[in-house]
Symmetry: C2
Subunit: 217 residues, 2 copies
DNA sequence: GTCTATAAGGGGATAGAC
DNA sequence: GTCTATCCCCTTATAGAC
């Protein structure tokens, strides 16, 4: 799954000047995004420093600021990069397969996101936990609209007797919380299970069982 | 439910000097804890400033530092205050009532914690999300031990045929994630449901249904 | 494009009067 | 015990040489 779209942030200096990016510039910005993702996801926006990001990216601090106007601009661009991709797995909820299988598929996909992209999950978790100051519009518009669509779909499945009666929006909340937990609260999961234990195989079994028993008619 | 124990933090100046607290001192420290809880839970440790806490507490910044040695000391004492109380609801998992009822009771209690003490939940969430640097010992010792006890209990329930077969530790993780979600990701929940909607009644119905279908023999 | 040096401001903590 | 004033470090961002 591709997590980075080719992206044109208004906050990137080249874009402000209206010029297209060279190959070198694309590589540098990609390096900066990767470093920023690591630092911001681990420390939060305020906790992260440009020194840390510069070190992680293997460049000097003024060099970072040659490519981006400000710390805030890096963070905003990073979130903007990931936001649409973050919605993608939810599009697996559709009528292409049987309702229960579609839901289980979404659960598996979302759990795989936590396993394979824990930093992205924690970046969003940090942001939402602190009141979502930078992505409030996204949540109230794009996300809400997508949830409205999918709850309507789930409601139709219930009415058609394809799955058991269930509150659709809380079903969606439960899928989010159960799957993201393994990325966001990784420190706690590993404190309880031991650092060497991989929780994901058991987690998948548990969640599949959970939603089968919850929804199977 | 009482969330604050009478507490003696090593980081409080009076305690360092070995003196008992006067009534005034207790009130002041309680005021500081309340203010610090609001600020730290909303902004994280690095995001919070002593200026904000002082403003919230209605006192001057040097006055804060008359009662506590440092910003770090306030934060540590606050976490220490809450940590034991945070484990309490889990003790509702016991043999005093029927297994399923005991689990449902724990779920309801934990959900009520999210509803009534969302700042406390977000304080811990901030801490764990950033790798639990200050409560790692607590998680690996106290929490792990309690989880081990309770998973053994759940295992016995399964073997006795009182509840359906289930992975006990992931059952516990799921209860944590599902209930804390409503406090920690409050911003997202309200962006999807609308700011005026109270999610808790529906959440309780959903979760009770979920665990009944999951566990009832 | 990248660097060193540095300006500018925020924020934790202290000094010392009252 | 509480305040004003202040210190000083950390961090963001810029200046200007190369």
């Amino acid at each position: 799954m591709r997590l980075y779209r080719i992206f044109t942030a208004v906050s990137m200096r080249q874009e402000v000047k209206g010029k297209a990016q060279t190959r070198i510039q694309k590589e540098k910005t990609a390096t900066i995004f990767a470093a920023a993702l690591s630092i911001f996801s681990a420390q939060g926006f305020r906790g992260a420093t440009l020194d840390q990001i510069a070190l992680e990216a293997g460049m000097s601090k003024p060099n970072l600021l040659y490519y981006f106007e400000s710390k805030e601009a890096i963070h905003t661009a990073l979130l903007g990069n990931l936001i649409e991709t973050w919605l993608d797995p939810m599009r697996a909820l559709n009528d292409d397969s049987e309702p229960l299988e579609s839901i289980l598929n979404y659960v598996r996909l979302k759990l795989a996101m936590s396993r394979d992209y824990p930093r992205e999950s924690r970046l969003f978790a940090n942001e939402i936990l602190q009141g979502a100051p930078r992505i409030h519009q996204f949540l109230s518009n794009d996300l809400k609209q997508l949830v409205d669509e999918k709850t309507a779909l789930i409601q139709r499945w219930v009415q058609a007797g394809k799955i058991r009666d269930v509150d659709p929006v809380h079903l969606i909340f439960s899928i989010w919380s159960l799957t993201q937990h393994y990325a966001d609260f990784d420190a706690q999961v590993h404190a309880v299970l031991g650092t060497e234990k991989d929780p994901y195989p058991d987690a998948e079994d548990y969640l599949v069982t959970l939603f089968c028993r919850m929804l199977q008619v």
